[in-house]
Symmetry: C2
Subunit: 169 residues, 2 copies
DNA sequence: TCCACATGGATGACATGTCAACCTTCCTCG
DNA sequence: CGAGGAAGGTTGACATGTCATCCATGTGGA
């Protein structure tokens, strides 16, 4: 192993540690302010931008990149709490529309506000536009690399295609 | 909200998506090659560097920043699989030493090798030393910011002190 | 010494995530 | 049209993570 590799791995470890801490912090702030879990937030946030607060479960799976059983379980729990409802889907009788309830919409709006405030305060203000842009570039490079990995490896491609239907790009 | 905030939040979202994909990819590669979960790997990797493959459960909690019940459950499962053993601790009869079994050590070494290869191939080679150094700096800034947040907020401080004993820095 | 309290860890109940099997509906092709 | 397979979701079993509680040991005074 080269010296570059060793220090690269050290940088990677340091990065990972901080990311974990940051995610835990943001999650705590959200839960404390709204009582919602990270999973709740992701679903509500996606539905909040959908017209009428309505989205096909399928589409939501693609947006969140979740396994279908995960989404199904989570949606079931949230429906039980009155945050959203399942309505049978017009275009495809196999599918379902997920629809925000009024309480769900309120919770979603509040959660988004809380999360954006947290991210602004902790991340954006700390890094500033320059570092943020750089971070986004770094993310784009990694995304491209992952895409290539998926192309090369049948197992990875399968995992990806389960979440991103090839037909839709 | 300023334009800077909006684009900053967009950068943050993009970053988050990629991080999630990357973590999933690395985890899949590890599991495919070794049959170990990410949690298994973290524990084995820490023990691998400990003298004699032995570490106080308490110390491991600090290294991994895990809740004590999480560690306890995970260690119980791994002991059942023969990867490590619990031995009562000499210095403090309340505590336990966690000790790698020979099979555990083999698995740990293999897992480390697999993970380092994955990270090199996917992350290090893609980003290069410059971007990596920049990423480490960014992580350091965020770590400092989180530290400050913990100082200011009693609840966060409590969460941190549960994982980092104040007495040990 | 003795007692209150802190600490290391285990445990059980529950929330969440994954995997495999299943059901229904859709699509394709003979 | 009809049969076979693909696709959208659900379900149940199990792995994992969290929370509250409990137990045993350590510690610091009165």
């Amino acid at each position: 192993m080269t010296a570059t590799t060793a220090s690269g791995l050290a940088a990677w470890r340091a990065y990972n540690t901080v990311h974990t801490q940051l995610a835990a912090h943001l999650s705590r702030e959200l839960t404390r302010a709204t009582g919602l879990s990270e999973a709740d937030y992701q679903i509500l946030d996606a539905l909040l931008d959908a017209p009428g607060g309505r989205m096909r479960a399928l589409e939501l799976r693609y947006v969140l990149q979740w396994e279908k059983s995960r989404l199904s379980h989570q949606v079931g729990r949230m429906a039980k709490r009155g945050l959203l409802t399942r309505e049978s889907c017009v275009e495809d009788a196999r599918g379902w529309d997920l629809v925000l309830t009024p309480e769900g919409r309120t919770a979603a709006a509040r959660a988004r506000q809380v999360r954006e405030e947290s991210v602004s305060r902790i991340v954006l203000d700390t890094l500033g536009p320059g570092r943020l842009a750089h971070l986004a570039e770094t993310a784009a490079l990694l995304a491209a690399r992952l895409e290539r990995a998926a192309d090369e490896d049948p197992a990875c491609r399968a995992a990806r295609d389960e979440l991103f239907p090839p037909s839709r790009g």
